[in-house]
Symmetry: none
DNA sequence: CCCCGGCCTCAAGAACGCGTAAAAGCCGGG
DNA sequence: CCCGGCTTTTACGCGTTCTTGAGGCCGGGG
């Protein structure tokens, strides 16, 4: 879920934004002054910040600088000042967008979507995570306790198919077909041998697997 | 130098932008309608596009879609329409910013700087660095201990592909295809020979590589 | 109760892929 | 024409991975 940090000292604006953003499925955090905004941003790692410039404690530009010191989170500035010098100053300090109050909620939301879209396009990293290990499909790696687990090509072939279908049942035939090719769709013994190996490498208790589940007579399931 | 594509059918606006942008060191391209804009964008690969929505031939949203089909170049929309539905439509189509006419030149330039800044932050330095050597993709050179290492064309081809995908596993087939061409996708021996050479040139301990990693049976990985 | 199909485990030989070295082929410049 | 740099080819030792077979476990049906 996308998380938004709303920073404004006017409660009615914060309330309005919270309602609108929550209704659209965003996770909303709020702050009423610059210092707490910086603290919350560090802790909560929001995906985007909506920042009012007229805060009681810090100058708006200082808040932007405080964020830009360690992060490239998109910042959308809200401000009552319409003069271009204020806009230029905020944008050059590192803001991504500048919206003047009073603002149209539709427009703000559209600008927010644009900012988030840009940012996910950059990071887009498909990872599937379970309680005991992490499968990173982009770089083809599996980590367990933050520590890489080496998989052979055949092992990775199986993990990849299962990780691309999380929670879904994958038939033996499909696994054999995609990993060993159409000639070996009946070698179900291969699957037993390799699932045993994968469980030894990935499961906490290989005898009682919690993620690489056998559905007898049907296939296998990757439980997250 | 940063290049900007200005698309507008009003010559005086194009002229004003060209003068201001050129004075600030930008390389300016121009187009007066949507179709030529798309063509110029493909050829010139501008770093940012300033797009007027009221073009004679195509609808503004279609131009945005045409660009977004193959590129993530930042698009700043210029428009006389101030209603929020127009803004929402353009932003959701893939625009990065929306400025209403008449606009302040200072503000537009600041928004343009913001868009470019974001994008260079994203595309990252054309330099990939490891603990023992540095790959400079812009000038096609590798340095080690501040001191240039000479690579043959084939060696550079491999390093370049890996450096453009840092951390990612690159399959043998992809490497062979891109360096030797589609006729040689099975010559995996080439890779062994060349990786041995590269390790001798770049790794501290060629027998125990820390950056040019082999993933047996799958491919190679550039670890940073 | 026994049988049977499907599953898990284990182990060993075969097959494969990798690193390395060195020779042979190719090509352009001096 | 010869030389040097670059690429392609060949050969071999070695460790890892795959395949295969045998044995045991478990639950359901006869």
């Amino acid at each position: 879920m996308t998380s938004v940090l709303v920073v404004d000292d006017e409660p009615q604006i914060v309330r309005a934004l919270r309602i609108n953003l929550t209704a659209r499925g965003y996770d909303v955090m709020t702050a009423y002054d610059g210092k707490s905004a910086l603290g919350i941003a560090v802790e909560g790692k929001p995906d985007v910040v909506v920042l009012d410039l007229g805060l009681p404690d810090l100058d708006g530009v200082d808040v932007i600088a405080g964020l830009r010191g360690w992060s490239t989170i998109p910042i959308i500035v809200l401000s009552a000042r319409t003069d271009s010098s204020a806009k230029v100053e905020a944008l050059d300090a590192g803001a991504d967008d500048y919206v003047t109050k009073p603002f149209g909620m539709d427009e703000l939301l559209a600008r927010l979507r644009a900012a988030v879209r840009r940012n996910v396009a950059r990071s887009g990293d498909p990872v599937v995570e379970t309680s005991s290990f992490v499968v990173d499909l982009a770089v083809k790696k599996v980590r367990r306790d933050g520590h890489e687990v080496h998989l052979t090509p055949t092992e990775w072939g199986l993990v990849e198919i299962l990780a691309r279908n999380p929670g879904r049942l994958v038939s033996q035939k499909q696994l054999l077909q995609e990993v060993w090719g159409p000639m070996h769709v009946n070698e179900s013994q291969y699957l037993r041998v390799y699932f045993a190996q994968l469980r030894r490498k990935l499961e906490v208790d290989p005898a009682h697997p919690r993620h690489l589940i056998t559905e007898p007579g049907m296939g296998y399931r990757f439980e997250v």
